[in-house]
Symmetry: C2
Subunit: 228 residues, 2 copies
Amino acid sequence: VLNAEGLRKEYRMGQHLVQALREIRLTIDEGEFVAIMGPSGSGKSTLLHLLGGLDQPTDGEITLVGKQVSRLSDKQATLVRRRNIGFVFQFFNLLPTLSAEENILLPLIIDGKRPKAFRARLDEILDRVGLQDRRTHRPDQLSGGEQQRVALARALITKPAILLADEPTGNLDTQTGTAIMRLLQDSARELRQTIVMVTHDPRAAAFADRVVLLRDGSIVEELVFDLE
Amino acid sequence: VLNAEGLRKEYRMGQHLVQALREIRLTIDEGEFVAIMGPSGSGKSTLLHLLGGLDQPTDGEITLVGKQVSRLSDKQATLVRRRNIGFVFQFFNLLPTLSAEENILLPLIIDGKRPKAFRARLDEILDRVGLQDRRTHRPDQLSGGEQQRVALARALITKPAILLADEPTGNLDTQTGTAIMRLLQDSARELRQTIVMVTHDPRAAAFADRVVLLRDGSIVEELVFDLE
Ligand SMILES: Nc1ncnc2c1ncn2[C@@H]1O[C@H](COP(=O)(O)OP(=O)(O)OP(=O)(O)O)[C@@H](O)[C@H]1O
Ligand SMILES: Nc1ncnc2c1ncn2[C@@H]1O[C@H](COP(=O)(O)OP(=O)(O)OP(=O)(O)O)[C@@H](O)[C@H]1O
Ligand SMILES: [Mg+2]
Ligand SMILES: [Mg+2]
């Protein structure tokens, strides 16, 4: 459902070239739960953004639900992404003027849906992320971990086929983090959702079927968990 | 060197009152390394901001290097803070238009110092946080963990008497995180620095002399490590 072939990403800094990703090949099947780990600066966020079509590679190709992203117009790529992908950003990207629940409902509103029809789903997701009594708070009235959970709820509310999550438990204590991982696991199972999660937390990675290790822009190792 | 007595912080949200901190009493001695842990939303960042004079309590008093913060004018409080405290924010607060090294030098410039005189210190700190080859990058050209390390370097460059750090390893892999903790430990020892660090990471907390556990706005437990 997600494929990267010969993927490269460079940034030119004056005289000097930063190789954020060098020749990445990665195939992810429908319903798989993949964790991406690696040192700070190794290219994880870059890879996730390319997989989600939020950025263009320097070279190589991303194939997303059967479509080659580089061959789509901006408009087509945006539609494919909105219909299929939920994205949790490393630093959330919440709208500062909207409350937690408004931020969460936003993807539905953008999709032309009417929020009232999703009241039950909103309630359930607020429950699962533990934010029922913070639903009216704006981002600047929320703790770091609370903002992170709003970002996750927002990515899940449309029940996307693919969830791309950049360090979804980075600002959470162990207990809250585990609750969040169970939510992801349940969501994946009941929706046959594909999950690609960047994480520094081995405990979070343990929920995945497969761990891909990045170092300095390349995949250096893959670990498969075969416990059924 | 840092004391909180009867500290309370409330936020009014319409009909409803959020008790972010309820009656906190905390004493931190010079040279101590204290970790503050607790669930997401338990009041850790709130406590750290009050300790650093970045926010006013609803009730109670903060005493900082012998001065009662509530009795100081805004201007006096700012001076006390700038001369004594280095602060690492949970979401960094870097200036987007400045490079990594310019962001790091900023406290010195604000202090009226000439950056050229601190060339060696800047080099050493860039080395210790592993950002020598990212020094010219602006925040939007840095990974999450790289931005976090810039924020830490900026807080350390003035060799402050007190370091207040809000989750300084939250966006770092284990290896980089350990390097950062060793940097904090060395800095504390050679400068007799007092460190108060909020963290979700038990491995980071293990570097502290004492762990204070918050839950729902109150201190519920303290653990002291007596290994010498
Ligand atoms: N716009 C840019 N210009 C130049 N270099 C960049 C740019 N964006 C990212 N980089 C560099 O590319 C590398 C990979 O960045 P990326 O954000 O993917 O790392 P990461 O693995 O997510 O790290 P972290 O765990 O710290 O979040 C980093 O070393 C970073 O400095
Ligand atoms: N301006 C505000 N208005 C209303 N409530 C607030 C405001 N700022 C913080 N809060 C609430 O106060 C509580 C404590 O916030 P704080 O940021 O101190 O938590 P924290 O322990 O740092 O959490 P985390 O580990 O998630 O960063 C949270 O439940 C938050 O929703
Ligand atoms: Mg990243
Ligand atoms: Mg916090």
